[in-house]
């Protein structure tokens, strides 16, 4: 198992390098100089040139990339063009709300989706139809609309949760932290919940129809024991894999919700930096996101291998 993890990590290194290179060169294609954006409309060409020189933007692209990569490998992602703040610091501040939101939402959808899918597959009939309706409904509702609705009902009318803002887990404690995240999590989870529930339903239906399940039933192993000791484990494999994918999509969905709920997260930071041509922050952010994606994929692979011994052999 340790070798399996190490091998996966080794594969991740060149992958991150490629992502870093692509993001760097793509950003170069964006029209407009960061220096001009920083200085505003009134700046003279001379001023722009001087600033470009001091930021190192007048050098050839390849040598810029080499410098940036060299610094990045040492953990230094440079400084923000606009605020002068270290990119690493800026990202570190905004990564907590985003990851809290994405991770909690994914855990919620995984647990609830698994239970709903299992109930649908095992009980069938009315339960099955109810789960399918709920899942379809969740997938059909756009998350920004649901977010607005949730704010209107639970924050403005009922005053149960704060409408906007974020509380630090470390400084403000778990209560405020959670209460600021409840509404964004629900808005974010609705779409994925349907997907996971459908996946779980299909996986359980498939696992339940396997011959070994029939054999276990026939040989007198109680139904509940078959379900929890045999079916659950085998049915979890595709569900866990889909959950990994939805987590990655969730990172995209977070951007919209951070805007609506004004959470100081990665989404807001990236959006602001793109608008300001603050390329050093954008590059650092892309690197962070790809690192998260690689790590999530690794976790999914390890979880799959733990659940299904046949994966480990390969």
């Amino acid at each position: 198992m340790t070798r399996f993890v190490l091998r996966r990590l080794a594969v991740a290194v060149p992958l991150l390098l490629i992502v870093a290179a692509i993001s760097f060169f793509l950003v170069q294609l964006v029209p407009g100089s960061p220096a001009a954006a920083i200085l505003g409309n009134t700046a003279t060409q001379e001023q722009v040139d001087t600033l470009e020189q001091s930021l190192g933007l007048d050098q050839p692209v390849l040598s810029q990339f080499g410098q940036w990569l060299g610094h990045a490998l040492q953990g230094n992602l440079g400084a923000s063009y606009t605020t002068g703040q270290s990119v690493s610091d800026a990202l570190a501040q905004s990564v907590a709300p985003t990851l809290s939101l994405a991770i909690l939402s994914t855990l919620l959808t995984l647990v609830v989706g698994l239970v709903l899918g299992m109930a649908a597959a095992v009980r069938g009939g009315r339960t099955d139809r109810l789960v399918q309706w709920t899942g379809s409904l969740g997938m059909a509702i756009p998350n920004f609309w649901l977010a607005a609705l949730l704010i209107f009902v639970f924050a403005i009318k009922l005053s149960l949760f704060p409408a906007i803002g974020y509380a630090e887990l470390g400084t403000d404690g778990i209560g405020p932290w959670i209460s600021h995240l409840v509404l964004p999590i629900i808005a974010l989870s609705a779409v994925n919940l349907g997907q996971i529930a459908f996946q779980a339903r299909a996986a359980f239906t498939d696992a339940l129809s396997r011959d070994y399940v029939r054999t276990l039933h026939a040989t007198g192993v109680p139904r509940r024991r078959v379900l929890y000791k045999h079916v659950l484990r085998n049915a979890s494999v595709p569900v866990v894999q889909v959950t990994g994918l939805t987590f990655i999509f969730t990172l995209g969905g977070v951007v919209v919700l951070e805007l609506i709920f004004t959470l100081p997260g990665m989404g807001n930071l990236m959006l602001r930096s793109v608008q300001n041509h603050d390329f050093s922050v954008v590059q650092g952010g892309v690197l962070y996101f790809s690192l998260v994606v690689v790590l999530v994929n690794l976790v999914i692979d390890v979880a799959t291998a733990a659940l299904d011994p046949r994966v480990r052999v390969r």
Binding site: R210, D211, Y212, R214, T215, L216, H217, A218, T219, G220, V221, P222, R223, R225, V226, K229, H230, R233, N234, L307, D308, P309, R310, V313
Partner: protein, 363 residues
């Protein structure tokens, strides 16, 4: 197993004791088909038989004859729509699969597909421990001891317990399935096409193993297969099934040597032989015995003999009247030819039919 024993296994075995281990009375299994006017398929249509302790009863027939459905009905996997199943004094007709913990200690099963019937994500040891822990309530430590002796019983290496099913061949997996069935010392094991998925050499090994285990443990087998020679080699008695009904029943040796019912004769002629000349003769015989295949045949009459559309000796009475189980020598045969009072033009010609000398009827 020595050749002397294997050539005549049934003569060495015992007579049927008074209280049978398993009594099946007028068992019926109907499968509903889609469509509001489609009548249900009678997969098993009034089958009665008994099975004694230590006995091996063979069920033989072609695909769709209901032989596997009988096995599945006993295991609670098929919807029983009529009749009664009594195992070891308990009525298990209503015991559905998954709610039959109390039945498990008496009745176990080995299915056809050795690849599908083992959970791929559990080690062989865990698979074998499952019935011990679930049905017999044995703790894991004792189970480990048991597993070791079980693996030895089915001639698998001890370290097999830590490996996963995908590390084993079909024959080895079937041994694992047999070991699982034996784990809690059942009185009866249903072998549903248990060797059909294996190649011939492995079939022989597994059959010999089953025979040895039966002598060691005294377990009874309900042996379901489509191959008449294999079934009659391994069984004490044989039931020949066609379209959910018993066509012929009796001692395995005589049914194999001289099948009486026209359908049993067809089944026997369907088994290929290695010699090409004999095979050609056999094929000609088969064409005489059976007029058409099941798929081509007219639907079986509601009231008559189900084999009537394919039978070379069919007469008017076969289409209208269900044959009784007529006694013939040491067996019973559900055929009007064997029933002197049936009104069949060839009634009473049983001996000639069995010898293969009776001419086909015109019908």
């Amino acid at each position: 197993m020595s050749s002397a024993q294997s050539s005549a296994p049934s003569t060495a075995r015992h007579a049927v004791p008074e209280t049978p281990l398993l009594t099946v009375t007028d068992l019926r299994v109907d499968y509903k088909l889609p469509g509001w006017r489609t009548p249900p398929v009678k997969a098993v249509d009034g089958v009665s038989f008994t099975l004694a302790e230590h006995e091996t009863l063979g069920l033989v027939g072609e695909s769709g004859s209901g032989k596997s459905t009988i096995g599945r009905a006993l295991l609670g996997l098929a919807p029983i729509s009529g009749g009664q199943v009594v195992l070891n004094g308990h009525d298990i007709t209503e015991a559905k699969a998954g709610d039959r913990k109390h039945v498990a200690s008496d009745l176990q099963v080995v299915f056809q597909d050795p690849y599908g019937s083992l959970n791929p994500s559990r080690t062989v040891g865990k698979t074998l421990a499952e019935p011990l822990e679930a049905a017999a309530g044995v703790d894991t430590r004792t189970a480990l001891e048991e597993i070791r002796s079980l693996l030895a019983k089915v001639r698998l290496p001890e370290d097999a317990a830590d490996r996963y099913p995908n590390a084993f061949s079909g024959g080895q997996r079937q041994r694992i399935a047999i070991a699982r069935a034996l784990a809690i010392n059942p009185k009866l094991i249903v072998c549903d096409e248990a060797i059909s998925a294996l190649d011939v050499v492995t079939q022989a090994q597994v059959l010999n193993l089953l025979g040895e285990l039966q002598r060691e443990t005294g377990v009874a087998f309900l042996f379901i297969a489509h191959n008449l020679p294999v079934v009659s080699y391994f069984s004490d008695r044989v039931l020949v099934l066609y379209r959910g009904r018993i066509m012929e029943s009796g001692p395995a040796a005589t049914i194999h040597a001289r099948p009486a019912h026209p359908y049993s004769q067809a089944l026997r002629a369907a088994v290929p032989v290695p010699n090409a000349v004999e095979q050609r003769v056999l094929r000609r015989q088969r064409q005489e015995v059976v007029r058409v295949t099941t798929a081509q045949a007219k639907p079986a009459p509601e009231e008559g003999c189900p084999f009537a559309p394919r039978c070379p000796h069919v007469a008017d009475v076969c289409w209208t009247k269900r044959p009784i189980d007529a006694p013939f020598e040491d067996r019973t045969v559900a055929c009007h030819v064997f029933d002197a009072a049936s009104g069949h033009p060839q009634a009473g010609g049983a001996a000639a039919l069995t010898a293969g000398e009776l001419a086909p009827t015109a019908g």
